[in-house]
């Protein structure tokens, strides 16, 4: 009897498994393709371009790369013109992100308490953010047109009398900033809304009992509670604005003159147009990369912190 029970229980507790892989094998099988692909397309190119940045290589010439040391880097750092592009980029990033934060957070405060149709409003204003920036830029060119665009018309200028937003060197940067703010304020809004909706009501109720003024409540409750998410939005927008390329190419192409020439656009020009100055472009790319890595580190750190909290 005893042996019979043993015979019947053993097969069910250690069932016949189909020929199968163990967990370590599956883990490798699932993970390695991703890791290998990412290394091949990120780490290898980065090392390759680090090497190229110390050479005089031109992608269109047949000459093999010649080692030139830190020549490219010192050329770039001493190039007055490149500093202009860095200044342009800085101005654009700071102004656009600051305005996006104000506008996005402001709209989030408006949409905070639900009303009939607030869901629809929230969804509708997210559409531009998801569209192709180059297409958006191109289309705003028509909107900014001094003769028949609706932007000046809505500002109340009669045809041809209003400012030429794209053609005027002082205004072109503002044109890009306006479009960027139009596109990306909803991003800040969406994150702010998430932060606002997470604030428990009882904090406000307690503040009401203590007769705290609305202003006090805003600065002492609302703002600190939303701050972590708002910071993520600001960091992400800063990184993205620093990389801005599509929008500028669609809207101004860097012009007029070099009024809206951003570092990323200049980088494209050095690397892929005219002389194909690959070595110098790689050096510039590395300088941009170091700046971006700095901001990205902060971003990822906060993202993990928010995720954990």
């Amino acid at each position: 009897m005893q042996s019979a029970t043993a015979n019947t229980t053993i097969p069910s507790s250690t069932p016949r498994r189909p020929v199968s892989l163990g967990d370590p094998a599956i883990q490798r099988l699932f993970l390695w393709p991703t890791i290998i692909l990412l290394i091949a397309f990120n780490i290898f190119p980065l090392l390759y371009s680090l090497y190229l940045s110390f050479t005089d290589y031109r992608a269109i010439s047949d000459q093999p790369p010649q080692w030139v040391g830190i020549q490219n880097y010192s050329d770039i750092l001493n190039d007055e013109q490149l500093w202009v592009y860095f200044r342009n980029t800085g101005r654009y990033v700071v102004t656009a992100v600051a305005l996006e934060t104000l506008v996005g957070f402001g709209i989030a405060l408006l949409l905070r308490s639900k009303f009939w149709g607030s869901g629809l409003v929230t969804t509708l204003i997210l559409i531009p953010m998801m569209s192709a920036p180059v297409v958006v830029g191109l289309f705003w060119k028509l909107i900014f047109n001094p003769n028949f665009g609706i932007f000046n018309y809505l500002l109340g200028y009669s045809a041809g009398k209003g400012p030429d937003w794209i053609g005027n060197g002082d205004l072109a940067m503002w044109a890009i900033i306006i479009v960027d703010v139009w596109m990306w304020s909803p991003y800040v809004m969406l994150l702010s809304l998430a932060g606002l909706s997470a604030i428990p009501d009882y904090i406000y109720e307690a503040a009401d009992i203590d007769r705290a003024s609305p202003l006090y409540q805003f600065f002492r409750i609302t703002l600190p509670q939303v701050a972590p998410l708002l910071l993520i939005a600001i960091l992400f927008r800063t990184i993205e604005a620093f990389k801005a390329f599509d929008l500028v190419m669609g809207l101004t192409g860097g012009g007029p003159g070099d009024a809206t020439e951003l570092v990323s656009v200049q980088l494209y020009r050095i690397a892929f147009l005219g002389q194909f100055n690959t070595g110098k472009a790689s050096a510039l790319a590395y300088i941009v990369l170091i700046i971006i890595i700095g901001i990205s580190n902060l971003y990822i750190k906060y993202l993990n912190k928010v995720k954990a909290g």
């Binding site: 993970l31 371009s49 408006l110 969804t123 997210l126 969406l190 980088l267 790319a285 941009v288």
Partner: protein
């Protein structure tokens, strides 16, 4: 009594806020509406001063987008009018005094966009779901560093990595090929796909699989039959986000393709009409590009926040 006035006050404030929000939304959407209407405007209405709100809609823009046209002489136009075998596009072109000579390059570019966006999305989601499962269920050495590395690849500016990839592709014969762009978009979507899917898989209780393993399922069977069906919403959301990125991508396509594999985004700026910029064609192209995205935004609105924060914030 005091309470009643307080309630009315709150109601007035809420109504005022709603009114302000709705009017801001209307103002905000003017460019989108304008794009929509421009796509259907005849040339004269586009450049009219002051801007026209009411006009007779035409498909000139779409015909300009999809076909190359040549100008007809009055005699030829008469001849064309006699013909009865004209397609709708030819009829629209004839109204402007134009004849269709051939399909524009845009048709092929749109096809490239579909192939490349579709192919890279499938790859990114399949690889992403496998890696996400591994990250979620196994203890992996250096997991935090690996995850950090994967996300950091997303932060690289395209222009920075494109220079070495351009040289690499030229050597390997991948320059201006569909396969080259598919792989590249897969790589750039992988970070998003892994992070997003890991969040979704983390939410599936481990107990389900453990029960299945005890019942005699192999790990692979448990993954296939238990985890995948549970993660289907997450997979759908991830697919959509990857599709949007690949669909909208401009910089890589501009620098790594020329004729054969060129996608639509770098091509729309070069849609130039017979006389100056053909705004109706550009608007039509933009509109066709925007419509799928708009539909997706509506369908996915619950997951948008999650998608744009790499799965970090859930609601």
């Amino acid at each position: 009594m005091a309470k009643v006035t307080n309630e009315t006050q709150t109601r007035v404030v809420t109504a005022g806020r709603a009114l302000l929000a709705v009017s801001l939304c209307v103002l905000y959407l003017i460019p989108v509406v304008w794009m929509f209407s421009t796509a259907f405007k005849p040339r004269k209405a586009i450049i009219s001063v002051p801007p026209q709100i009411f006009f007779t809609p035409t498909l000139e823009g779409f015909v300009g987008l999809f076909y190359k046209r040549s100008t007809l002489t009055p005699a030829q136009m008469e001849q064309y009018r006699q013909r009865t075998d004209l397609t709708w596009a030819e009829k629209v072109a004839l109204e402007q005094g134009l004849a269709i000579t051939r399909q524009s390059d845009y048709v092929g570019q749109l096809r490239n966009s579909l192939i490349i966006a579709g192919g890279s999305t499938v790859l990114a989601v399949v690889m992403g779901v496998l890696s996400a499962y591994a990250f979620s269920r196994f203890r992996i050495k250096g997991q935090a560093d690996l995850e950090f590395f994967i996300l950091s690849t997303r932060m690289l500016p395209p222009v920075v990595v494109t220079i070495p990839i351009f040289l690499m592709y030229r050597k390997l014969g991948l320059y201006d090929t569909h396969f080259g762009l598919i792989i590249l978009y897969t790589v750039f979507n992988l970070s998003l796909s892994v992070w997003l899917l890991k969040g979704f898989i983390d939410e599936i209780p481990k107990e389900y699989e453990e029960a299945a393993l005890i019942d005699g399922y192999s790990r692979l069977q448990a993954f296939w039959k238990i985890v995948l069906p549970q993660a289907i919403t997450g997979i759908a959301a991830t697919t959509v986000f990857c599709l949007i990125f690949a669909w909208n991508e401009y910089a890589f396509a501009l620098m790594l393709t020329s004729n054969r594999a060129r996608t639509a985004p770098p091509s729309i700026p070069s849609v130039i009409g017979t006389s100056g910029v053909d705004w109706a064609a550009i608007a039509a192209g933009s509109l066709l590009f925007l419509i799928p995205v708009a539909i997706v935004v509506f369908a996915m609105r619950r997951y948008l926040l999650r998608g744009i924060t790499f799965g970090a914030i859930r609601q």
